[in-house]
């Protein structure tokens, strides 16, 4: 994994990126302002018993128990931060938590819910901010955690670089994003229904990162000891419309810049019909796949293990074989 020119390459990427960091990203895939509005709506529709979100949040926070380090100060980026707040329950030694989202209503909801959770003595602060423009001083938090929010950023590497800069040395970046397999059934159903009713296709489901991209993203953002793993969840709904309701409640509605801004009623119904006829289970329920990519990365610190420089070995493998290989034969 550690090729000799890996470090140079990473440094080069970092440098070439930093110079462009403050310039507006040219490619705008998602309408961030619309996403804010959708998240405002999601704050009203929020379902605290959403098993998908709760499972992902719990899985993510659970990773804090795998490390011996404690994280006195943590920053929770947008996404399902309400679920994260509930699932911390004293894990990771978090003392100070900053919760951040781009939607004011979402932040307000979390602030109002705080009084029900005050038993675990975490000092929480709240702010409204954009992951792409992180207003956090360099080297100031031990943990950046993001649950199902970063897949809506236009500039994911930029957001991750900013998160890395916000971390103290040896700080942990922990994120869950939806992966490319997410909603593949809906993607297919939408395409077929659109072709049939309107004779053309427009994107209804956003492009998402693939698993192989996630590792590259972490390395590109300059994290050390990158780790990626994937989970797939099947959620069953009574009808395709219920799926759409669920997506709305999560704030995961379509926010592509190039979307067609209306959806014809019969196309919508056709999509639901295609979905049901193609993917419905025997008992009539509608399955939907959610692929979640978990990413972990650390900010560089000299205490971390790393591969030795190539050619720095002082003992030849042949000698080792002579020494130990001779004993076994």
């Amino acid at each position: 994994m550690y090729r000799p020119n890996g470090n140079c390459l990473r440094r080069f990427l970092k440098r070439s990126f930093c110079s462009a960091e403050n310039i507006d990203s040219k490619v705008q895939i998602f309408d961030r302002h619309l996403k804010r509005k959708q998240r405002d709506r999601a704050a009203w529709l929020l379902n605290r018993k959403d098993s998908l979100v709760n499972t992902v949040a719990d899985n993510l926070v659970d990773r804090l128990e795998d490390v011996k380090k404690t994280f006195p100060s943590a920053l929770c980026l947008g996404g399902s931060m309400e679920a994260i707040r509930r699932s911390i329950r004293g894990r990771g030694g978090i003392e100070k938590l900053i919760m951040m989202d781009s939607s004011y209503d979402m932040v307000k909801l979390c602030k109002d819910a705080e009084k029900d959770l005050s038993s675990d003595n975490i000092e929480t602060s709240f702010m409204v901010a954009d992951e792409e423009f992180l207003p956090i001083k360099e080297s100031s938090v031990d943990l950046v955690i993001s649950c199902l929010g970063l897949h809506w950023t236009n500039d994911l590497p930029g957001a991750m670089i900013q998160s890395r800069l916000a971390l103290k040395p040896d700080g942990l970046f922990l994120a869950a994003i939806f992966g490319g397999e997410t909603l593949k059934e809906l993607r297919i159903a939408c395409t077929i229904a659109h072709m049939e009713r309107e004779g053309g296709v427009s994107p209804r489901v956003s492009p998402l990162a693939q698993v192989r991209d996630a590792g590259n993203l972490l390395t590109r953002a300059g994290f050390t000891l990158p780790g990626v793993d994937v989970d797939e969840y099947q959620v069953r709904y009574n009808s395709a419309l219920e799926l759409i309701e669920h997506l709305r409640a999560m704030g995961e509605s379509n926010a592509l810049v190039n979307r067609i801004k209306f959806l014809k009623r019969d196309t919508a119904l056709a999509t639901a019909a295609v979905y049901e006829s193609m993917f419905a289970a025997e008992d009539g329920s509608i399955p939907a796949t959610f692929q979640v990519i978990y990413m972990t990365g650390w900010r560089e610190h000299e205490s971390q293990q790393k591969a030795k420089r190539r050619g720095s070995a002082t003992v030849s493998f042949k000698d080792i074989q002579k020494e130990f290989g001779g004993q076994t034969t």
Binding site: S73, K96, V107, F126, A129, D130, P135
Partner: protein, 87 residues
Amino acid sequence: MVRGSSRVVEIISKTLSEMLVCPLSKQPLRVCEKSNSLISHAIGVSFPVVDGIPCLVPRDGEIIETDSDRTTADSFDAKTDHKTAQE
């Protein structure tokens, strides 16, 4: 600056005041109690604080000075310093 940071506590929490910087320039923010906002001198933008929650999305920010006032960085700095002194 010191005077500013001791006042911060009153409208936003201490933790936040220690960590927040301007989302665009990454420079320190000054708390303005009078307008209940956070001001980034580096780019001349004020961000509102609503109900103790600072709103730091670039879109929420308001440009304080007009473009014609901001001909050079130096004159801009002098102007804002003057303003602070008046307060």
